[in-house]
């Protein structure tokens, strides 16, 4: 527990530095007002836009990475679930049914990833690469490669409504993160995931169904991606099968790693990933706010990523006199 808390410190530090920069560079950054019964301001946007994609994807990705895997297919799964939900409401289904259909198919696709990895024994990067390509095709096939606009009020509300002044996605995603975190620690799932990621062979010999664990985390990652896809579609009242979620897997992986979960698997931190996602979203909005030309925007982005990396560096931390313990391999 102590280690986890200490890994959380560094992304938080990076986030605070970025926020302080904004506070100085753009005065209106922290301005939040009450408008039409909801909170309104850049900080709210960070949470709202951050919740819809990076946070959600990072949630699933955290568990996948904790088992030592990776999921490249999240963007494509977003496209599929968004498309399914949109087509369902257009076909007359209720919001609930449409969302359930989208999430169901997304979870199923995640489970397919899981089967390819845990049962067939493909390397995660390859299995999910296949899903990334084919899943995008599936989304386009379902929609005839066209945008699917819809006018279902309750579905649109999912992304644009507010609960107690907070955007619905923020409430939804923080709730999901909280419940997931709680469940993982209440049950033995968290332990099994970490054990599987740290030493799969030993875990199996200790009686853990490592195959089942992997299957479950890819299914969960699919579910999270599905929810993200539904929210993205709800946000613009249309499903965009060809482009939605494109390259967002990198954002998710970045959020997870920045949050202190090692790509090699093992110990994970959901809270860290959420902070990592917020960091990423803050960075994006900062670049918009400073009107950094899109062509050169990658450069400051690279600088911030490197800065986060350096904060994570044991070497540098040792320099600053922080005590660390190293785990012998």
């Amino acid at each position: 527990m102590k280690e986890i808390r200490s890994t959380l410190v560094w992304p938080l530090v990076a986030l605070v530095v970025l926020l302080v920069f904004n506070a100085v560079a753009s005065p209106g950054f922290f301005h939040v007002e009450w408008k039409d019964g909801r909170l309104f301001g850049t900080v709210v946007d960070i949470f709202n836009q951050g919740a819809r994609v990076p946070m959600l994807l990072a949630l699933g990705m955290t568990l996948v990475i904790a088992t030592g895997g990776v999921d490249l297919s999240v963007g494509s799964i977003m496209a599929v679930s968004g498309a399914v939900a949109a087509m369902q409401v257009n076909a007359g289904a209720s919001m609930g049914q449409a969302v359930a259909a989208g999430l169901g198919l997304a979870t199923l696709l995640g489970l397919v990833n899981g089967v390819l990895i845990a049962r067939v024994g493909l390397q995660p990067i390859i299995a999910t690469l296949v899903m990334m390509v084919a899943g995008r095709g599936l989304a386009m096939l379902l929609t005839g490669s066209q945008m699917v606009p819809f006018a279902n009020r309750s579905l649109t509300w999912l992304a644009n409504g507010s609960v107690g002044g907070l955007p619905v996605p923020v409430v939804l995603v923080l709730l999901l993160a909280g419940v997931t975190g709680w469940l993982l620690r209440r049950t033995a799932a968290g332990l099994f995931i970490e054990a599987t990621g740290d030493n799969e062979k030993a875990s199996r010999l200790a009686g853990i169904q490592t195959g089942g664990v992997r299957l479950a985390v890819y299914g969960f990652s699919g579910f999270c991606a599905g929810l993200s896809g539904v929210l993205e579609a709800a946000n613009i009242s249309a499903a965009d099968p060809a482009r939605i979620g494109d390259t967002r897997e990198l954002d998710a992986i970045f959020a997870v790693v920045a949050g202190g979960t090692a790509l090699t698997g093992g110990r994970f931190s959901l809270a860290g990933s959420v902070v990592g996602a917020l960091l990423l979203q803050t960075l994006t909005l900062t670049l918009y706010n400073q009107n950094v030309a899109p062509a050169v925007a990658p450069v400051p982005k690279a600088v911030v990523i490197l800065a986060v990396c350096l904060l994570h560096s044991p070497r540098l931390r040792a320099r600053f006199g922080k005590r660390t313990q190293s785990v012998a391999a």
């Binding site: 753009s26 209106g28 301005h31 408008k35 039409d36 309104f40 301001g41 850049t42 946007d45 836009q49 386009m140 490669s145 066209q146 945008m147 606009p149 644009n160 993205e232 946000n235 613009i236 009242s237 249309a238 965009d240 060809a242 482009r243 939605i244 494109d246 909005l285 918009y288 706010n289 009107n291 030309a293 899109p294 062509a295 925007a297």
Partner: protein, 305 residues
Amino acid sequence: KPSGSSGGGGGGSTGGKLVVGFSQIGADNPWRTAETESVKAEAAKRGIELKFSDAQGQQEAQISAIRSFIAQGVSAIILAPKVETGWDGILKEVKAAKIPVVLVDRGVTVTDPSLFATLIASDFVAEGRMAGEWLVKKSGGKAGIIQLEGTTGAAPANDRKKGFEAAIAGSPDMKVLASQTGDFKRSDGKNVMEALIKAHGAAITAVYAHNDDMAIGAIQALEAAGRQPGKDVTVVSIDGMGFAFEAIKEGKLNCTVECNPLLGPMAFDAVAKALKGEELPKQLVQEDRLFDETNAPAELPNRKY
């Protein structure tokens, strides 16, 4: 079945059917999908077998697709090039195989103009210019503008930006407050707009989006912020998709510059002529029209895409 010579060469055809290869850049937006559909539909109508290749945004993939076309011995090639440069070599190979090439969308810079038969082009710079000129007129030469750029580095984004900025350069009070990429996506258009509304607030009086999708996203963001797109914020975009016409009808979008994706008929006309050996003009520029509330409602029923 009859087989073409393995060394390639023009005039190959299967079962008496004409075979034409079409190398498309990608399938990443509705405009491009409409273009693909148009070419496919026209081929079907004329009984031509179409070899379709989707390069998923990679020039290298387009080149290898063209090489495959040569190897298969197609009769003609329609190419929607991703960028203007880098085509000399492959087009020489095509020429050596005596296969005529019809370019669609945009031109290529080549040393030898005989490397392609003709170009059926949209002039992206002109589109940007038309949008800019319209906005200058509409706003009386004074506006605080948010520009939503297309995918960074993409030719339409570069050119539409160039044309627009040239058009407003003469009006000192036309100020671009911020110019950020929305990646041609509706969702990104909305996200960017959401952020920029907070940063620039009431100073925003106009939005120029490089495509209709981003404009729709921006409109949604403006509405959510309590602004009235189409009224207190003028919204201009490019492409002329069906949903843009509807938005104009609803009074939320002010104007869209058409960029006609229905190039199929013209492209196959050109193919037919080229195969007969007719000399074609090097460039058949598409006439891109501008639609605003004055003429859009009338056009709406005619929109096929």
